[in-house]
Point group: C2
Chain length 202, copies 2
């Protein structure tokens, strides 16, 4: 466990260029700050926003929509700021994702409903909206997810995530609409769940 004091000195006093310098980032940072910055660097390539991380595509923001239209043709798109995201067969066993696109305010939003066992043996649903855009662009919007049942309503309102950050950390932190299978039964109709989605500008 011999410490390399010379290297430590370098790491705490010398500035390094960001990993995405060749893509346009002009920042130089201490080594200790570099990793954290690169995670949020606006020049980092965008990854495919489809949940499950099965698709390994990455590229620029401008290429995301063409990628979705070409490689994920099964995803439905609805127009308008106020739509219904209909998830069918929510009682299917195991981890399942439902995905839909919503187009409004000249932007594209991806609606995601995930069923998963964050806690073993306890299935929960997580619903969230992400903007096909940067974090800065996402700050201009708000979304509302609403479940309507007989004399019951559950509503979640928040800022959309940017696809640059993705939805997995928000789901991990329950920073989204969360409900378990018992509650889903109160709102589902014949195994189908309609989620009212409203996007607005702030």
């Amino acid at each position: 466990n011999i410490r390399n004091l010379a290297m430590e000195k370098v790491a705490t006093t010398v500035d390094f260029p960001c990993k995405f310098a060749s893509s346009g980032c002009k920042l130089t940072l201490l080594y200790s700050e570099k990793i954290e910055h690169e995670e949020v660097c606006e020049f980092r390539p965008y990854q495919c926003p489809c949940p499950g991380a099965l698709c390994k595509w990455e590229g620029s923001l401008e290429q995301v929509m063409p990628h979705l239209l070409n490689s994920h043709k099964s995803i439905t798109t609805l127009q308008g700021e106020d739509i219904v995201f209909l998830a069918t067969d929510i009682n299917l066993p195991g981890a399942v994702d439902w995905v839909m696109m919503q187009e409004c305010f000249n932007h594209n939003f991806m609606l995601v409903l995930e069923k998963q066992e964050k806690i073993e043996g306890y299935q929960q649903f997580f619903a969230i909206v992400q903007l096909i855009g940067s974090r800065r662009q996402a700050e201009n919007f708000a979304y509302r997810l609403e479940l309507n049942g007989t004399k019951r309503r559950l509503t979640w309102e928040a800022t959309p995530r940017s696809i640059h950050e993705g939805v997995s950390s928000a789901i991990f932190n329950s920073d989204c609409l969360v409900f378990d299978t018992s509650m889903a039964k109160l709102f589902a109709d014949n195994g189908n769940l309609g989620i009212n989605v409203t996007i607005s500008m702030v």
Copy 2:
């Protein structure tokens, strides 16, 4: 395992009086329907509505408020249809209850926040409103519970429970406002959680 056919015949064809006939119930029912009815019979005594079932008091509806005022003096009451239910020290370990009374529309409502591990190792909060009144009276009201955080809002709207049915089955079925400790962090301030409660007539 000899079947008593004579008794079975009685049980399926003879009407029995409700267990609460002496309190005023005039119904007579088949034995098979009797148990189910007695669970919801409006002449069944009211139990103490304080969560946890530690208090074994029971009595008539008219006696519930005097009981609460005499035996549960520590419960705070706020007046008005729109109040803030402040739960302090929500990070305390173990199962904890927070209780408050809200007085409006000439009725008394009991606000309940319970922290418990319905799923072992996974703490969740359950918030719900019950009317000090009958099921029929409860149908005349609606309540809204709202958590407000930085650019986030979670809202639950429903019909209050009657204290005659209690809140435990609703909590078991997630038929209330449900959130886990991760989500509580998004809305709590210094370990204290404010829940906006609004009662309305329907």
